[in-house]
Amino acid sequence: MSEAIWWAVARSEEISAEKPFNVDIGDQPIVLWRETDGTVRALEDRCPHRRAPLSLGCILGSGAIQCGYHGWTFDGESGQLVDIPNLKSERKYPPVYKAKPFGVHESAGFVRICLDAKAPPPADDGYALPLSGTSTVALEHGQYIAALFDDPSLLISIKGVRFSPYLLAELCEQEGQLVMERSCQWASPHWPAPFTSDFPISLRIATDPVTGESDLTLRDDEFNLLLQATLAPVPGARQVTQVRWRAMLSPERPGLAAKAMGLGAPLRVHDHIDGAALRVLKPSASIHADDLREKIAARTDQQDEVA
């Protein structure tokens, strides 16, 4: 797992000052919590004393995290050990007595972690979309993103919308992102997609080439915005994918079908994948993703060298 990548491992709502929260990036377990001033902290979810998960401990009034096993207490910013309560002393502990800290950045309702604590923070993403959720899916991260490109209906449902197999634009690079656009239909009775001349709505997917974090934009054929969403898939332990998402239904939605999107949840991110459907899903748009990723990475490396 590369060090300098910012992964959206949690939604802001999931992190509190009451209870530590465990996530992982690949095989790296991480504990997250909020200090009393709202700052989010992240340490390796492993007490350096006896390797117990710090997430089983508690958050003290000082904002430090205390291991639930022997009470070792750590500063969230530096990871430095600040107290071993049973020693009843004011002693200072050597610098090696610390839990591994990670970089933390919170914006737009997502908490992002970088395994390199010294990495420069990413740019702020604007405002938090009001709807949100978390799903954990038994599918490897790369396969999850490939399925998003090839058939999003295996991963998500948008109220009243049916994804067609037909693309307005296949995967291409736009400003460092992988971008594609898929024709969609309303889920009401309609002429079958293979015989349809013009589709009433389309879904644009813009995906970060490394993290797979994807901005989804559903628009009608007059380019009115209907729904926007961000899906943040993160590779987890045992090759599962943790997906945090946020979404917002556009307040102005012309047409009856678009208005009906407001009845119930407009976006669902599936917890379960239909393995039988996935097995026979033919690679299509996704097959170009690796080439595009390589192209973007090569260019980034070149720019880094020049810099």
Binding site: N224, K282, H288
Partner: protein, 355 residues
């Protein structure tokens, strides 16, 4: 504008279909249909009736085309929708105002993908059995889609042996006394003529066309205009009515094909159900084709060490591969000239019998 007369017709030396069988075979087996992107071509983007004041969206190789009619009724083809706030920068395929060259012919809106200055009406393919001004009734027109790359769809079309198997319930099975396949080509087209003697009658002709015999004499012609990814499929059936299909395969993306077809059955008597049913057979036939070409398509996306195996009946498909690859290579070298005339009347080539 490109002038056809400026470009000498294909000479034997330029012919990519070489007489060296090993070289030919190597080219056939290097087939990478997903990598082929031909430009400086007219693409039949929409039936004329489908384009009105509200912009409709089409694509060629993911390049967006928005089509609508101005107040004078003329079609405008633009790169961006007027309301698109996410629109990217203008490409090299449009003029300063973001418009593509566009024209109407044969009842279609044709958009030019390529250098705008090279767009010329004489590069629109010849389709002898479609009225130049369009106007065919709607029941003869339709849209179907293939979940595969356009050159695979066209390779499928030019190999009519497949029809005897996956379309047997529509056009008849493989039972016949003899079958011959002839292939003709130039640098811009390939034409396949299939002649079948005493072939089992197409069920659709038996059911709806009033054909009572058990066998019929069949002469089917597929002519592909390589750059435009457009084919004409002309069949003469005796007994039976001639079938006159325009079969464009617009590569909306590298792995999806749009077919706005026109099946002119005005040669069939108005009292004959075949006139109305045959154009609708496309809905069934296209799904049958897609059932095979869709799983085929990803298997042609990457170079493959194992060679495809071929039969003598695959001559047209093999030559189509070589011609398409040669045209793509020529364009990669910066040569976009038309060396052969695609708009010259091809009635004689396809053996079209005017009603």
């Amino acid at each position: 504008m490109l002038e056809i007369s400026d470009n000498p017709a294909t000479s034997a030396n330029d012919d990519p279909i070489t007489s060296d069988p090993r070289q030919f075979s190597a080219k056939v087996n290097a087939w990478m249909p997903h990598e082929i992107m031909l430009t400086d071509a007219w693409f039949p983007l929409a039936h004329s009736f489908a384009v009105d004041k509200k912009p409709v969206r089409r694509a060629v190789y993911s390049q967006p085309f928005y089509l609508w009619r101005g107040s004078d009724g003329q079609v405008i083809a633009a790169e961006n929708h007027p309301n698109d706030t996410l629109a990217g920068a203008k490409s090299e395929y449009t003029d300063e105002s973001g418009h593509y060259p566009v024209l109407e012919k044969y009842g279609y809106v044709w958009g030019w993908l390529g250098t705008p200055e090279n767009a010329a009406p004489e590069h629109v393919p010849s389709i002898p059995y479609l009225p130049e001004d369009g106007g065919l009734p709607l029941h003869m027109l339709g849209t179907v889609r293939f979940d595969c790359c356009a050159p695979l769809s066209l390779e499928n079309l030019i190999d009519l042996t497949h029809a005897d198997f996956i379309h047997a319930d529509v056009v008849g099975d493989e039972k016949m006394d003899s079958e011959t396949v002839e292939v003709f080509h130039d640098s811009e087209t390939i034409t396949m003529v299939r002649t079948c003697v005493n072939k089992s009658v197409a069920p659709i002709m038996k059911m709806f066309g009033g054909v009572r015999d058990d066998v019929q004499q069949v002469r089917q012609v597929i002519r592909i205009y390589l750059r435009s990814h457009a084919a004409i499929a002309y069949g003469r059936f005796s007994p039976g009515d001639n079938v006159q299909l325009f079969h464009p395969c617009v590569p909306e993306t590298r792995d999806r094909t749009r077919l706005d077809y026109a099946m002119n059955t005005s040669n069939v008597k108005k009292s004959n159900l075949f006139r109305y049913i045959m154009p609708k057979a496309s809905y069934k036939v296209s799904r049958q084709d897609s059932s095979m070409t869709s799983p085929q398509s990803p298997r042609y996306m990457r170079p493959e060490k194992r060679k495809d195996l071929h039969s003598p009946l695959d001559e047209a498909g093999q030559k189509y591969r070589v011609l398409m690859t040669a045209l793509a290579e020529r364009q990669a070298r910066g040569d976009f000239a038309y060396r052969d005339d695609v708009s010259a009347d091809c009635s004689d080539i396809i053996g079209y019998e005017k009603a």
